[in-house]
Homo-oligomer: 231 residues x 2
């Protein structure tokens, strides 16, 4: 449903924006930098979050809110990796909204947390319309999905601050023109930050982790920002 | 948005169902068997449709309605393969609806067409709620998306008649437990018809094409059904 078509939906979106603002105030009060992580199903959001936590272990403290229609498999994986995580099950809904995140925050301690990853429902379309209160929006695009996705789903590419191209270890096995893909993405969003990673080989994870550390320093200006050094 | 939450949305769904019935009557009047093809973005819907047209070329006549948020890249690919195709661009909308299909039918000749593939917007969630008038619903699940998707997106697995597991040529390179995946899918939908295909190697395409031919014989009972022989 296009959110701008119906007055009743406009009211829902307005209420969502009010709650998103409150969530952002909660994050800021705790010096937490929040990221809304979006992609198609199976692009590797949970795996990237777990590998990021491993890369940042001695540098930054992380927590995760996991959004799924059903099950808690992702939350179990994240917790098994030693990262605090809370599951949101949306029922049939195709995206997270600010009210669901607010509820999850009631069950998740933000004390000492530097980075909060909110893993949205796997969907390239609907999550983009809902502000959750995040500071930064990140999309993932996995190599086996193909390099034509910016043409077909332009909305998400214009709406995010960064794009992580995942599963680059599969480049030898699938048709994917990396330079053409980069060109398409940049034509939609010239300011987007692009990363290329493989969570299998570890390639590209250092650059991504370094950017996340810089985000917490630049955006939060928390008192501890200068006291922790990047390895 | 959960379609059952709002009276205004309930009315929209009722209007959709009325139009879907009219589409189905149009298909039946032309002895066309219509399939609604759904999956995540990049699971290989268009490629499967093109390879299916090649496999069925001397047996059945096909046409395609392509649903995308933007662009006509898929329609161009299908037409280049010699199959009549019409593009629907949904704007920002996350699914096809019966009205869009009705409009497309005004521009697409169904004369002599046996099978109409309606390729939905790449989305595992929202398209399931909208009847387009199809006779058969097919989902695709690509191997690189991972084998846990039935746990996280159960709705689509219960809503379809058949599931095509695509990109099986990537099985050596990604973690995907085929027997566990089959078990999960069958626990959600014991009557589902399962296919495993690779459009790169051609593996599994014959069985899939054979099933489509049987669909047109069984469901349509068209006068020509007995006169064309399967190779």
């Amino acid at each position: 449903m296009n959110p701008i078509e119906l007055p009743v939906v406009e009211r829902i979106m307005g209420a969502n924006d009010d709650l998103a603002l409150r969530n952002r105030q909660t994050f800021d009060a705790h010096h937490v930098h929040a990221l809304n992580v979006m992609s198609s199903p199976g692009a590797g959001k949970t795996t990237l979050i777990i590998r990021t936590a491993q890369a940042l272990r001695s540098l930054r403290s992380m927590a995760v809110i996991e959004g799924d229609i059903a099950s808690s498999v992702d939350t179990e994986k994240v917790r098994a990796a030693g990262v605090p995580a809370i599951q949101i099950n949306t029922g049939g809904n195709c995206h997270l909204d600010a009210a669901q995140v607010q509820k999850a925050l009631g069950e998740l301690s933000l004390e000492g947390v530097d980075l909060l990853f909110i893993e949205n429902v796997g969907n390239l379309i609907c999550p983009v319309a809902f502000d959750l209160g995040e500071h930064t929006r990140v999309a993932l695009a996995s190599v086996p999905e193909g390099d034509d996705k910016p043409l077909k789903y332009p909305g998400i590419y214009t709406a995010v601050d960064a794009l992580v191209i995942t599963k680059t270890d599969l480049l030898p096995w699938v048709p994917f023109d990396l330079s053409e893909f980069r060109r398409l993405v940049r034509s939609l969003n010239p300011r987007i930050r692009l990363f290329e990673v493989s969570c299998v080989t570890g390639m590209g994870l250092d650059e991504w982790a370094q950017w996340l550390v810089e985000l917490t320093i630049r955006e939060c200006k928390a008192p501890w920002a200068e006291t922790r050094q990047i390895r």
